[in-house]
Symmetry: C2
DNA sequence: GTAGTTTATTACCATAGGTCAACTTTTTTG
DNA sequence: CAAAAAAGTTGACCTATGGTAATAAACTAC
């Protein structure tokens, strides 16, 4: 498959473009492979790019001043990932992005993104809607964190991401749920016993 | 001030429009006043509109199955408010919106919004960027909820919203921070003593 | 301005989840 | 496949925050 076909049929499979638009798109993306356990981004770096995950699994996490990790987002096939706060604001990353399962990504810079929005207005709609969905799911997560016990959040998690569970470490899930690995162990034990 | 001037000089003060665009804009918005303690939206309703807050203070909150309230968002002057999950997805509201301080709002429907995006492309950029900022701040809040103690979250809150504190009840703040009013009282007491 | 209502504080006990540390299991590596 | 490293589990104890309830303070309304 050419890069051209890949970008158009994978990343933007719901949209259609004319030949010039396709050329523009293809020129904006760069394909990359990432081995397991590698870091795609480290806190402190400027964030020029966002990444479309074609295959594999990554996570964005924050290391608090006390040294504890907090997983903010997992990304699997067909998700986008970056430190969006830094990406949008042009500020330095607060987060790290780590490859959990060997991944194939398509990278695009913020500048190219903005040019594409100008050149292909339907892309702006497309990403605005994507933002709206992300916004909604973040809001749900805030509510869940405020209103539910760790056990319930764990149950929602494995329901929402049934496939992620096999790939990720226990402490990834724990740090996503906001609990320790020990607590997660205990929760699992109780769930099995019931 | 005419509605025309208000919409253009208040809501979209950072943008400029030609006369036809201004007409379009003005026709899309409706101004409304809301008394203190009234409900702008209740869970279960379909959400057709979003609201720009010109003056006053509102909050969006969720009532969990156990009856407890969780404040998701406060909105003061120059903020937008709605149950965005429902607004974006065309689903029923999960949240309530309550007027905390007598408010002046400008309301616009999702349909009109989508028409405006088509007619005035700079609006789509404008709202996309707004979404990006909201997304970033939600992400920060998730990190804060995961990594900080209630005391620290309270301190960040009063720093971020120095003006809100006078207007809102203790239990509004507590339910935003994810703690009980009793805990908030204790936290305040300890802070005064130090 | 007094009675009534709502909101905030305080005290006491309960509990979910954290901490530390030992131990077991799984995975990785040579 | 054996040794080492990493990840997961368990137990004993601790701490922050929740729950209940009584009291105090602050609004509201007549």
């Amino acid at each position: 498959m050419t890069l051209e076909t890949e970008v158009v049929t994978t990343i933007f499979k719901d949209l259609s473009f004319n030949p010039e638009e396709i050329q523009l798109l293809v020129r904006s993306f760069e394909k990359l492979h990432l081995p397991k356990n590698s870091l795609l981004l480290e806190a402190g770096q400027y964030v020029h790019d966002q990444y479309y995950v074609a295959e594999g699994c990554l996570r964005t996490y924050y290391i608090a001043p006390d040294g504890k990790e907090h997983t903010v987002q997992f990304a699997i096939s067909d998700w986008w990932i970056s430190d969006y706060t830094a990406f949008f604001n042009g500020s330095k990353a607060l987060m790290h992005i780590e490859c959990i399962q060997e991944a194939t990504l398509y990278k695009i810079s913020k500048n190219d993104m903005e040019s594409l929005y100008q050149a292909i207005p339907q892309l702006e709609s497309y990403f605005r809607k994507k933002m709206e969905r992300s916004f909604a799911s973040f809001q749900k997560r805030i509510i869940a964190n405020l209103s539910q016990s760790a056990t319930k959040r764990y149950l929602s998690f494995i329901q929402t991401y049934p496939n992620i569970e096999q790939n990720v470490k226990n402490y990834h899930i724990a740090s996503y749920l906001g609990i320790t690995t020990q607590s997660l162990s205990r929760i699992r034990k109780e769930l099995v016993q019931e």
